[in-house]
């Protein structure tokens, strides 16, 4: 994979998504700029409320942005309308977190997977459609006869496979996976992650993989972005990020994860952050992380740290990174 900028499938520039809430404006995504390359998996990690899911949804224009642009194959999806937008949507799909809530319980698996075909007028004859659906079920590791069943007849892992089949139906090039394995049991998570990796290899898919399980993110991602309170605070190749995290938040996040190895845990010096994540409605001045940062200084309260290249291809938004 070449790393030149022209390879960018998705180019995000100055993306902002604000929500009006009772007490003011919630800046869920606050000035996000990055590009996602053709064929790569960009992992996005962060805690609840950091804006990672909102970012994923806004990139797909499931939310209208407050400001900024997202170029998909060089064209701004926010400026598209009508048939052009619909054509772009075919290329951009989503796999949701909760396989219990994202499938209509009253629809058979066949109807669920048929819907995207119908929406995009790709259905063809009934026989063709049924054939395509059975093919998709085979791709995600389910059986043809499963098409006639209903979601409640499936386990969580199987439901997630149905969600993936639905996303694949219209042959997209980009899929936002929003915590696709969080709701699944450990022994099933690996099945779904392997499926996603195989599909990427076979179909050349590009993924944005949103998650909070950092070991899994490292396993699946080429690059990882870390978000905190609507801002991207660090971005680097997956290996590099885990080997040499520069932002104090990333360091704390990495050290917070209990590793399933008693020897590692016994030796580990855990950085335990104090306090809670501040409200995104009322974020701290300067660096958003300063209220919990063990290394914060006066400068952090007055000056917003810019995301800068601290090493080649390794970006961090900290004055002291």
């Amino acid at each position: 994979m070449s790393k030149s900028k022209s390879d960018a499938l998705i180019q995000i520039d100055g993306l902002k998504k604000y929500f009006n809430v009772g007490g003011g404006t919630l800046k869920a995504v606050n000035d996000l700029s990055l590009s996602i390359r053709q064929g790569e998996t960009l992992g996005v990690v962060g805690e609840s409320g950091c804006g990672k899911s909102t970012a994923g949804r806004t990139i797909l224009r499931l939310y209208e942005p407050t400001a900024g642009s997202v170029l998909f194959n060089g064209e701004d999806i926010y400026k598209m309308n009508g048939s052009k937008l619909k054509a772009a949507r075919r290329n951009m799909q989503m796999v949701f977190q909760d396989p219990y809530a994202s499938l209509n319980p009253r629809w058979s698996v066949e109807s669920i997977i048929a819907e995207p075909f119908k929406l995009h007028n790709l259905a063809g004859s009934r026989k063709e459609l049924r054939y395509k659906i059975e093919q998709l079920l085979d791709v995600v590791g389910l059986k043809p006869e499963h098409a006639d069943r209903y979601p409640h007849e499936f386990s969580g892992g199987q439901r997630q496979r149905i969600g993936i089949a639905r996303a694949l139906a219209v042959d997209p090039s980009f899929i936002v996976c929003d915590e696709p394995i969080s709701a699944l049991d450990v022994s099933i998570q690996a099945q779904v992650v392997n499926l996603l990796k195989d599909l990427q290899r076979d179909k050349g898919l590009t993924y944005m993989f949103i998650a909070h399980d950092l070991a899994m993110v490292k396993h699946i991602s080429d690059r990882v972005a870390v978000m905190y309170l609507g801002k991207m605070v660090e971005l680097a190749d997956a290996e590099e990020l885990y080997a040499d995290a520069r932002h104090p938040y990333t360091q704390a996040l990495l050290s917070s994860i209990p590793v399933p190895d008693p020897d590692v845990e016994a030796k580990k010096e855990r950085i335990v952050l104090k306090g809670d994540i501040p409200s995104p409605v009322n974020p701290p001045s300067g660096c958003p992380f300063r209220t919990r940062c063990p290394a914060a200084t006066e400068r952090c309260a007055s000056e917003v740290p810019e995301l800068r290249e601290v090493k080649p291809n390794h970006f961090a938004a900290c004055h002291y990174a």
């Binding site: 805690e47 609840s48 386990s155 969580g156 892992g157 199987q158 049991d185 450990v186 022994s187 099933i188 998570q189 690996a190 099945q191 992650v193 392997n194 990796k197 909070h212 950092l214 070991a215 899994m216 490292k218 396993h219 997956a238 290996e239 885990y242 704390a252 996040l253 050290s255 917070s256 994860i257 209990p258 590793v259 399933p260 190895d261 008693p262 590692v264 845990e265 855990r270 335990v272 952050l273 104090k274 306090g275 809670d276 994540i277 919990r292």
Partner: protein, 327 residues
Amino acid sequence: MSKQDTVLSVKDLEVQFNTRGGVVQAVRNVTFDLKRGEALAIVGESGSGKSVSAQTIMRLIPTPPGKIKTGSIVFNGQDILKMSEREMEAIRGKEIGMIFQDPMTSLNPTITIGNQITEVLIKHQKMSRQQAKDRAIEMLRLVGLPNPEQRYAQYPHEFSGGMRQRAMIAVSLACDPTLLIADEPTTALDVTIQAQILELMKDLQKRLGTSIIMITHDLGIVADMCDRVIVMYAGKVVEEGTKEEIFKNPKHPYTRGLLRSLPRLDQPKDEPLIPIDGTPPNMMHPPIGCAFCDRCGDAMKICAEQDAEITSHSETHASRCWLNHVV
């Protein structure tokens, strides 16, 4: 091990639920002991019976539809299953505390945090209102809530998720219980908050000598804070051992599969994860043989016909698998 060292002794426990579709055999023949000051992890996937086991210890299983078929749960020398509801009330919250997964649904939204703690103290410790208030504020400080005097008068909705879980811990520890049962206490929390809660629990265990039963699916948490591990599958204990034994020398194919299916931070990227194929069995019709048989790569003929007996590997380590069985 002398008898005084054992806080809790669960023996041959069987719990089932009558549902419209049939009888679900949630817990099948579970036996384990817990020592004073020990942290025991119960791991297993959803439906493995780990939460039902814990709720049975607290006698929180609604009967019907639930039914405790056989077994005994001896806590401090008394069989919990033989107690009246009134006797049980004296133990619940006083001798045994419980932390639930979701702190929003386990705190009463219409009562202030302070009153939820004082309620327990007045009922169980017969404290006066003022004494209870002082103790409640002390507890809130102990679990690391800033401004406990102010927090005392607030309602659960004014707390963040991590703060609510701390408050929940304060409620469950208010009477210095001998045993604390924590059912996925950090699953709903973010990792940096999870780290805070785990540190807090470790610290309290050390200071107060509380025994802990930690129900979790996160093997990282087990490695971090537990002494001993019970692995459950399809309602049965399939392996039991010290933390070191389970992580370094797992004997049951399911335990091995669980450990292998986790991504390691040192794992090369192109190396695929090794999942456990298939899904757990339907507990309305559990298999006659070993319940893991259908998903097991090493299954033999006997595994489908007859459930394995327990083989012991050391004084602390045992597994239920024919592969380990020696005649």
